[in-house]
């Protein structure tokens, strides 16, 4: 029996997973427990959860694996330049920091392994892809030195044959422009992706001047325009001069210029990825490609690559960002230690977090004094009732089963609504999300019906690629301005309760699609516990909360006083990282 814990930490989005004999038992991001968004600290709470889920103690863990090489990372940090040299800084940068925390603080005495950052990304994708062999492309801001890697996976082996090194980074390029457009780094990149369809690639030439394509997989950024040493800004004045306007102040008006910049950036990213994927194809001759790294969360680029690139099949690790590094590191260690085939290959779902019993939910509801409809023991009744509510225009907070691992809500910690309603996007924005109006919401669809409504010829269970909406139904709430959507396909095997709800909705409306957005308010992590969900429900204007089999309706429960007290006396959202610049220091 081998019990392996994989950990990612110190950058942003720290996470833990537990692999037992090649089977993923549990995985979670620390932010969900601490309620500190992007929490980067050692994921002690997530570790404890994983152990509890596996019914193991620390003493039974064979190996704890860290998702990057601290020595290599330190060399890059030194080379990039350090500020305020002090004992404190040294402690933070020290290669022994992780080991000290795991041994001296946590008290773990077993083996500790390290794998390179991009290898961890690569492993997190390839080993869960279901492919026997595949090309692998990992792209992010930066790991140790590598920002992009090219490789090949075959059986239980991964070989990364080439790397692009810092400061030449597509992820940092994207984040820089995100910062320039006035959005927060490490979180605003999605907004840029969502804004792009509203613009034209008028500045593509200018953007092409920021990067020089080189042989093989290499490229270089023109460092006259970037200043990655500066913790407060990522670009020089030259960039603003190149584009003709200064940086947009946050929260100010988004003009057509900004949309065009976003579109130009997105086009450039797609161009570069396409070119490099051609190179990768030449090197590997594989029909399959596995993606990971933060840039792989750019589902528009992923779709473009699949459509226009040389690969027939694509797998993207759902936790493509640093939290997924924990998975990759664990699996890499598993194989290094002689482990057999991974049992979650291909990855069927990411419902790896905590779940809560009906008893604990009922207890919470009783304490709240809220009126509830009990549909426990009647799953059909639950689906029909909730589907009917959604069909009648209600916005529903849906809390079921085990929490998802990764940045997407996939039907267990989701806010659901009718995608056919023209005002639904504005309603949800006003109620809960307070997002910019241009950002689309995404759909979940029964896989059996997906082809009728979306230009998608394969499953897309993790919402990591976009496609065109081809439905005869009018779906304004989930259709982006360019007619695209970021789809999640759902099967009864992967998520029976969510599939049943979609089916019930289809039976009422002939629409097997629901709007699916993450269950959280702006600035907070996705809800983890029933109490988190209840607080979110009370503080926002969501019409209905479904906790397991219990339905709480706002119209049957006056909640103004509760909401007032929660807002007055409750906690404020906290972020675990700085957002002015990429946190690679």
């Amino acid at each position: 029996m081998s019990n392996i814990i994989g950990i990612s930490a110190y950058f942003h989005d720290s996470a833990c997973c537990l692999l037992q004999n090649g089977k993923l038992i549990a995985a979670a991001q620390e932010e969900r427990f601490t309620r500190i968004k992007h929490d980067a600290s050692i994921p002690y709470n997530a570790i404890k959860f994983c152990l509890s889920e596996a019914k193991l103690s620390l003493a039974e863990i064979d190996c704890i694996v860290f998702y990057e090489n601290p020595e290599k990372k330190l060399s890059r940090q030194l080379w990039n330049g350090v500020q305020n040299v002090s004992k404190e800084l040294f402690k933070r940068l020290s290669p022994s920091r992780f080991e000290t925390e795991i041994r001296d603080v946590l008290g773990f005495n077993g083996e500790i392994k390290y794998f390179d950052h991009h290898l961890s990304h690569a492993a997190s994708s390839f080993y869960f892809s279901g492919y026997d062999q595949s090309a692998i492309l990992t792209t992010d801001g930066v790991g140790e030195w590598a920002t992009t890697t090219y490789g090949m996976g075959d059986g239980n082996k991964i070989e990364l044959s080439e790397e692009v090194h810092f400061p030449h980074s597509l992820g940092l390029l994207y984040s820089t422009i995100t910062n320039y457009i006035g959005f927060k780094v490490n979180g605003g990149e999605y907004k840029v992706m969502g804004l792009a369809p509203y613009g034209k690639p008028k500045y593509l030439e200018e953007f092409r001047s920021l990067i020089t394509m080189k042989e093989k997989g290499q490229f270089e950024l023109n460092m006259d325009f970037f200043t990655f040493q500066n913790p407060k800004a990522m670009f020089t004045e030259k960039l603003a001069m190149l584009l003709g306007q200064p940086k947009r102040p946050p929260e100010s008006n988004i003009a057509q210029f900004h949309k065009d910049v976003a579109r130009s950036l997105q086009s450039l990213l797609q161009e570069v990825l396409l070119e490099k994927s051609l190179y990768l194809y030449e090197e590997t001759k594989s029909k399959n490609i596995c993606l990971a790294g933060g840039v792989a969360l750019n589902c528009v680029a992923n779709a473009y690559l699949l459509k226009h690139g040389p690969f027939d099949n694509m797998f993207v690790q759902p936790a493509a960002n640093d939290s997924g590094g924990a998975l990759g590191a664990a699996v890499a260690a598993h194989y290094e230690m002689g482990g057999g085939p991974i049992k979650d290959n291909p990855l069927q779902h990411v419902y790896l977090g905590p779940e809560f019993s009906d008893y604990s939910v009922k207890r919470l509801i009783n304490s709240s004094g809220l009126n509830v409809t009990d549909k426990t023991g009647n799953p059909d009744g639950l689906s029909k009732t909730v589907a009917s509510m959604i069909a009648n225009g209600k916005v529903v907070g849906w809390f079921q089963g085990r929490m998802e691992f990764g940045p997407r809500a996939l039907g267990n910690r989701s806010i659901l609504a009718d995608p056919r309603s023209p005002e639904m996007r504005d309603r949800i924005n006003a109620m809960v999300k307070k997002r910019e109006a241009f950002r689309p919401f995404a759909p979940a669809v029964l896989e059996s019906h997906s082809k009728e409504h979306f230009d998608l010829d394969h499953p897309s269970p993790f919402m990591l690629e976009t496609c065109q909406v081809i439905s005869s139904l009018d779906l304004p709430a989930i259709t982006h301005v360019d007619n695209s959507a970021r789809v999640q396909t759902v099967t009864p095997e992967s998520n029976p309760r969510f599939a049943a709800l979609l089916k019930a909705f289809n039976e009422i409306t002939s629409c097997p699609i629901l709007l699916n957005t993450s269950f959280n308010v702006r600035g907070e992590p996705i809800v983890c516990t029933p109490e988190d969900a209840l607080k979110c429900f009370i503080k926002t204007d969501i019409d209905c909360l479904v906790l397991n089999g219990y339905i709480i309706e706002r119209e049957k429960n006056p909640m103004e006083i509760k909401a007032y007290l929660l807002n007055l006396l409750g906690e404020t959202a906290v972020s675990g990282i700085e957002h002015d610049a990429y946190t690679f220091m």
């Binding site: 080379w79 404190e88 000290t100 008290g107 005495n109 008893y359 604990s360 607080k535």
Partner: protein, 710 residues
């Protein structure tokens, strides 16, 4: 010839090579290399960020036109409460505007902390109101307005800021009633990342190296002395250089009825034999005191003081002996020593002796400076008895009697010395004793006091006292007590609960709803508090004991689901925090640690515990007791080990049970102070406290087999 780019690339490559080499070197030394040398090498890669280096922000000069939460409105000639400070309004007097011009012939500005607010009676009944009323009623030569600028949670810098701002009101007299918050203020400052840690660490480490535990206490006292000097210096200079008169009211402390919090009494990290002696004496003490064996108890207590004179346990225990022997003077001294040595936890506001002594030493009573020393005043008022629950609601906040006495004497001092009025204290007190809040306010104050005492792990009889007083003042409080009993017994966070909502609405005319809240994931079960309320209610023929027991079982019963005993609900009975590193597991610093669990006598309960003890040299055993009966003995050493054991139903009681762990102590303990590894102020406390055990996981549940069998 190389091009500029080529040169740059060369430099870059060379720098890269050096960076890789240095990283490798640091890594291979694995943190054991000489830090100075390493930092010097790292400095070669340092770049300027163009920003100011981190340093402590200078003290802000008061904003002109601002007075605490009030902002000056020129057209009205008033300071008016500013909306932008709305979240702070409840910490200050409920006074929407303050005229810049005097409205009476004499203006007194009243500054201070929560004790000066009349915390728990505020805003209905406050020391400032009592002072104003008394002076005006008893005095004949003048009329006075007292401008109440006291603030709950006032810190030192805030106090000085408001003092300076208050000069805009042209006060004739300034009263300063403060000193309780200085230690918590100091701890916040010492924890601050903005402070250069080396400025903090080096002096304390140096003091510790020379003088051991005493060195730390002395260092803290030096800081408190400096803080007090700064405060006093400002006001004495003001009095000397202007016509403004100054009164220092030195707070007193609830010596008789406020126990030193458990978090302030961890096992001290002593070496081998000393630790053994400490443990033996500590174990003996409880029994000796219970048996009334006072001589032996005194001897054990003195032994503890001898071993570690900076630890409160010896003094507290000796005070108990003194009280039983009716030696009040000695009891007082020992209780003060116990208070003065309770610096191992953040604790509550308290008046340290050094602060009082500094004020008394520094301030010479002069024509326009007076000291009202409440320690002496209460002593006289109580005819030598030690102040307790009669004068205090909790550790430092005054009861009605306490406010009457303190403000009565302050009024008398002002009248006699500043207004040249010959008034006796008897006359003043006669008037003061008639100044009482309405019964509803008294009732609520005692109710809140019960909560506050309960949340700080105080004795059950004190909690019961306040609950009884509360009901006595007004039976209307019964509903609030029932709601609070319900709220405390539930597992959900308070702010979610219906009973919280009802409680806040019921008590909507007061300003203490945050008292019903708790930090995230830190709710207490409040067993003693709830039991005290239920007992007091029962005496009024309101019997909800059975209902609460049922609720506790439904909410916390181990037969319904696995219960994590490390949650605060089951592992803590106080919100006090120990000063020290926060680790990702439970740490015990006592000989015996109690956890609560809710069960019934129908099923055995199984436990699973993962524990270790970092200070043990060899394997030893931890003794497990349930409800004071030994049920198991489990091996423990320096590595995490997991044990599962079952407790037969016969050892259980219906509803709340206690499972205790008696930790082994290493009688060959070596102190092993690695002072060079200290980076933060609080890490010093990791060295001086002896961690007797660590628990990573501790769960209680009824197995499905046992459920089925039943």
């Amino acid at each position: 010839m190389l091009t500029k780019n080529q040169i740059n690339n060369e430099v870059d490559n060379s720098r890269k090579t050096e960076a890789i080499a240095l990283a490798k070197k640091i890594s291979s030394e694995n943190g054991n290399g000489q830090l100075d040398v390493i930092l010097k090498e790292i400095q070669k890669f340092e770049i300027s960020n163009g920003n100011a280096t981190r340093k402590q922000m200078p003290d802000m000069e008061p904003d002109p036109g601002t007075l605490g939460i009030w902002t000056y409105n020129e057209s009205d000639k008033m300071f008016v409460r500013d909306e932008k400070y709305r979240s702070e309004w409840i910490l200050w007097a409920k006074m929407h505007q303050i005229p810049i011009e005097k409205t009476k012939s004499e203006r007194i500005v009243f500054l201070g902390e929560s004790v000066a607010r009349g915390y728990l009676y505020d805003p209905v009944y406050t020391p400032a109101k009592v002072l104003e009323d008394t002076i005006n009623a008893v005095g004949t030569k003048t009329d006075v307005e007292v401008i109440d600028l006291a603030k709950s949670d006032m810190n030192m810098s805030g106090l000085l800021t408001v003092a300076k701002q208050s000069l805009a009101l042209a006060p004739d007299t300034i009263v300063i009633f403060a000193g309780n918050n200085f230690l918590t203020d100091l701890y916040k400052k010492l924890h601050s990342p903005k402070l250069q840690q080396k400025d903090v660490i080096e002096p304390i480490v140096s003091s510790f190296t020379e003088r051991g535990f005493k060195g730390i206490q002395e260092k803290l006292e030096n800081e408190l002395e400096a803080t007090t000097n700064e405060l006093v210096g400002y006001f004495t200079e003001l009095a000397a250089n202007s016509n403004t008169k100054v009164v220092f009211v030195i707070p007193e402390y609830n010596l008789a009825d406020w126990s030193v919090p458990e978090m302030s009494k961890p096992l001290p990290n002593l070496s081998g034999d000393q630790l053994h002696q400490w443990v033996e004496n500590q174990k003996k003490l409880t029994q000796l005191l219970q048996n009334g064996d006072l001589e032996e108890a005194a001897s054990s207590a003195k032994a503890l003081i001898e071993i570690d004179p900076t630890h409160p346990l010896g003094y507290e225990s000796l005070a108990k002996v003194n009280l039983k022997q009716n030696d009040l003077e000695q009891a007082r001294k020992n209780l003060e020593n116990a208070r003065d040595t309770s610096f191992r936890s953040i604790g509550r506001a308290r008046m340290f002796s050094i602060i009082r002594e500094t004020i008394l030493t520094k301030v010479e009573a002069a024509q326009n400076i007076q000291i009202v020393d409440l320690q002496e005043i209460f002593k006289e008022h109580l005819q030598g008895e030690i102040p307790g629950r009669g004068q205090f609601l909790d550790y430092c906040h005054l009861s009605v009697e306490g406010i009457q006495v303190s403000m009565g004497h302050t009024a008398q001092r002002i009248l006699s010395n500043f207004f040249d009025e010959s008034v006796s204290i008897e006359a003043v007190m006669k008037h003061c004793s008639g100044l009482v809040p309405d019964s509803e306010t008294v009732s609520k104050a005692h109710f809140y006091a019960a909560i506050h005492n309960g949340h700080n792990g105080q004795d059950a009889d004190v909690l019961y006292y306040h609950c009884s007083k509360s009901l006595e003042a007004s039976p209307n409080i019964a509903k609030s007590m029932l709601l609070l009993s319900d709220l405390a017994s539930r597992k959900a966070s308070n702010e979610i609960c219906k009973s919280f909502e009802e409680l806040v609405m019921l008590m909507s005319d007061q300003q203490y709803p945050p008292g019903f809240l708790h930090p995230r994931n830190a709710k207490l079960l409040d067993l003693d508090l709830t039991d005290a309320m239920l007992k007091a209610l029962k005496e009024k023929d309101i019997n909800q004991t059975s209902a609460i027991q049922t609720l506790r079982k439904e909410e916390h019963g181990v037969k319904y689901e696995k219960v994590d005993l490390l949650q605060s609900l089951y592992s803590k009975n106080s919100y006090d925090e120990r000063v020290g590193s926060k680790l990702p597991f439970y740490q015990a610093f006592d000989l015996k640690t109690d956890f609560y669990f809710v069960a019934d006598r129908d099923f055995p309960v199984e436990f699973r515990i993962t524990a270790k003890s970092r200070n043990l040299a060899d394997a030893d055993f931890m003794i497990i007791e349930v409800n004071n009966v030994q049920v198991s003995k489990l091996e423990i050493n320096g590595k995490w080990a997991t044990h599962t054991f079952k407790v037969d139903a016969k050892y259980l009681v219906n509803e709340t049970n206690i499972i205790s762990i008696k930790w082994p102590v290493n009688t060959h303990n070596e102190q092993n102070f690695q002072l060079n590894k200290i980076d933060h102020f609080y890490e010093i406390f990791d060295l001086i406290n002896y961690a007797s055990g660590e628990i990573y996981a501790f769960e209680a549940y009824v197995t499905s087999e046992d459920l089925q069998l039943a």
